[in-house]
Amino acid sequence: MKLHEYEAKEIFSKYGMPTPKGELATSPKQARDIATKLGVPVAIKAQVLVSGRGKAGGILFASSPMETEVITRRLLTTKVKATRVQSVLVEEKLNIKKELYFGITTDRSSQSYVVIASSEGGMDIEEVAAAMPEKIMRVLINPFYGFRSYHARQIARKLGYSANQLGDLTRIFIQLYRVAMDYDTELIEINPLVETIDGKFVVADARLLVDDNALYRHPEYKERLVQEETELSSRELEAQKSGLAYVSLDGNIGIIGNGAGLVMATLDVVQLHGGNPANFLDVGGGASADKMTSALDLVLSDPKVKVVFINILGGITRCDEVAKGILEAKKRVGFVKPMVIRLVGTNEEEGRRILTEAGIHVLDSMEEAAMRAVEMVKSGG
């Protein structure tokens, strides 16, 4: 789960890290008052959970309280990368000498956390890694003794700092590590970490992603996960409530399957045969008739969908349960859209019998079914 910049900065500030003076505003008038109090110039930053916010016009500057009000009004009534702006952070404008990058994420191949630091902050770190790999420092954190001050000092030295600045940076790095551990982050970064012209360091922008699987340890955020995931479509939210893994795509063939890998492969095979999937939908292991019904409801109600392709390989999931779910959905919403069903595995015979008796044709091969679905779309259903 992503936290907003202002929330991350509140946490950082609680941990004693230097953040710019500033406040959150939800109205133009409020923004103007904050600018008056802070003194100008100010930075006005849209609080949206999208990447590339700056380039998309979500960060602007004002040289008077009046201008702050005007800009805030504009930001609050427009969208940044299709996301409505609900609030802005009004902050003192920093006098930048240099922009650094510092972050902590996980390294899957070494099964540990990794610190990433760079003297090239201010842009997407993956772009830096691609263009100037020699500017990226990666330090694996040993899970037995953690990230310690000497590690932080080594990094600060390699970034070229000494004397007081070495101590200042070390403290920021260590505190960021504490936040990462205390908040169970899967990614936490300061980008840019600004060195001002008078030699101070300030957390100019912050990104913090809490590990969704650890949200039970952070009840304050758990509640919000469903409410505020602004990058999810309404259909994705509905799926989340029914416990289905769903991702909306651009095509017209609705896909339902069991198991993430199988569903991904189903999308691939559909595409290979010239079709375009409308979604990814994994009903998960051991799906009940009920879950199958909600999955079908979700896909059938999507106006993009012309044909539905159900691909079930019963393991823990039982084919008879799936068949019952399909019939239940048929009763409830009626089959307004053509369907292709591939059903094999545990209790396959019973599942087939249920569907065949209801006049629904069942196929055995995933590829044959994919081809059939693509043909059906091409012939206009």
């Binding site: 191949s109 169970d184 590990d211 650890a214 039970y216 991904m264 492969a265 095979v269 994994d282 545990t346």
Partner: protein
Amino acid sequence: MGVFVGKNTKAIVQGITGSQGSFHTRLMLDYGTKIVGGVTPGKGGTQVHGVPVYDTVGEAVKRHDANASIIFVPAPFAADSAFEAIEAGLKTLVIITERIPIRDAVEVMAYAKREGVVIIGPNTPGVIVPGECKLGIMPAHVFRSGVVGVASRSGTLTYEIASGLSAMGLGQATCVGLGGDPIVGLSFVDVLKRFGEDRQTRAVALIGEIGGNLEELAAEFVASEGFGKPVVAFVAGRTAPPGKRMGHAGAIIMGRAGTAQSKIEAFLEAGVRVAEKPSDVARILAKELGR
């Protein structure tokens, strides 16, 4: 023979009294797996399908000389269970539980590595050596004993590909699920090393998906070390959009990293055959093995 488990595996089930734990204990017993004990704190002294239940792993291990464990404990308590099993001296752990916090998984893996313990999972269907031992939740009927080693990041896709192999008369020496979480115990490279040494295994199928770089590292391993047995790979998620989690917590493309394209290219460069569709895996392997 197969790897990771076999006829000599004597396993305990942690979380045996839960609905999943109890259900799969019965299926594993039916398959012939030696399940010698179960653990559920507070339920010691009871039985599940004739298997004695203990309060602690230590008691179960001492009484039955167990050497492996399969864990069905809910995510908030799973790391604790894994630590308990490692400390009790068990050397092979299958963690079925999904959605274990990253921080917990990192700690478990570090401890396991230090103690020389193999961790399969978390979020795995487990491991099966057909005809000998099933320590997992996979449907047994799709597997046949044979010469192909299968390593996979996905459950149902493994069943899909294994049943394709079985239908073509290509049985499996071992099928192991690495797990769908971001931090898992085994990498494709770890498994390749074991498959390389195993005499029963004559060919390998690697079933990857988007996210992370385990596939790229496997390709690098094959290219640099050479691998004396034919390897075929399939990578799911060619059509997955970036930044979206495709069902598995670990299946997400971050920026340019973790795309199916990058993995496929790495395999091809290493001389590993890449299957376009799941059914091609069996077809390519049959040809490689001269069937």
